[in-house]
């Protein structure tokens, strides 16, 4: 196992691990707090719409496929195909954000705010911070699409897969573990 074996730039792996650690810390603290108020956390969690989160997971993993295809196309010099893949991946990101905004509006209409219950403080912080990464990811994908150089497209795709990875890890404690 050598550092040289890692695909892509080492700095991106440092970023990926750092981001995972930040989200892991948030999720861990939330679950520890749940031990003191399981009924309250359970009731708060039951107010969320898991169907929208599930739909967003399908959207995000599919956009990950387009990002991976773009990376492969850029590596063989097929810039047009790479740009198409990046555009579709970015579009997936925008659909994700639209669904997330819709979910936030629904939550708000149901009277759910950050201070309604400690669960919702973590819910808004974790999903909001993740959504900010999705927005940044869409911008990164658009930027690397301009010249569609292989290294840049690989970096953009790696960032995008990190966003995907974080989402599949925050999903169970927020929506599924009742």
């Amino acid at each position: 196992m050598r550092l040289d074996d890692l695909p892509g730039e080492l700095i991106l792996w440092i970023l990926i691990v750092s981001e995972l650690l930040i989200f892991a810390a948030g999720i861990t603290v939330m679950l520890v707090l749940r031990v003191g108020d399981p009924a309250g956390f359970g009731a708060a969690q039951a107010m969320l719409d898991g169907r929208l989160a599930a739909a967003n997971t399908f959207v995000l993993v599919t956009s990950g496929l387009f990002a991976a295809r773009a990376e492969r196309a850029a590596a063989r010099g097929a810039k047009r195909a790479a740009r198409r893949g990046l555009m579709l991946a970015g579009l997936g990101g925008l659909v994700f954000l639209a669904l997330k905004l819709f979910e936030y509006f629904k939550d708000y209409a149901a009277g759910i705010g950050m201070e309604t219950h400690p669960f919702f403080t973590f819910y808004y912080l974790l999903t909001g911070f993740h959504a900010a990464h999705v927005l940044a990811g869409v911008a990164v994908l658009a930027l690397v699409a301009i010249r569609a150089r292989a290294e840049a497209v690989q970096a953009g795709a790696m960032f995008w897969h990190m966003v995907d990875l974080v989402w599949v890890l925050i999903l169970p404690p927020l929506y599924l573990m009742r």
Binding site: M1, L6, T57, H161, L165, V168, L171, L176, M177
Partner: protein, 81 residues
């Protein structure tokens, strides 16, 4: 079928399984959704981030991740007592 499409299909299947478990609480459901999350993470790291092709690195990333998920399950179990 190419490797990327296979990875995507695995992720879709795992996500479908997770969605099917939504709304049913309990210790073993919690274990199942965390196991599915670990499998999704492995698919993304190995298939999309290409760690399958980097000897030792997929295991090096998955080991702490699985230990952390086990820890989460333990804390979750405490909240169900």
């Amino acid at each position: 079928m190419d490797a990327l499409t296979r990875t995507w299909l695995i992720l879709i299947a795992l996500t479908t399984a997770s969605a099917a478990l939504a709304g049913t609480g309990g210790l073993w459901t919690g274990a199942a959704v965390l196991l599915l999350a670990a499998a999704k993470a492995r698919a993304i790291l190995g298939g999309f981030l290409h760690l399958k092709a980097a000897p030792g690195w997929l295991g090096a990333m998955m080991l702490p991740l699985v230990l952390w998920l086990l820890g989460l399950w333990g804390v979750y179990a405490l909240s169900l007592r």
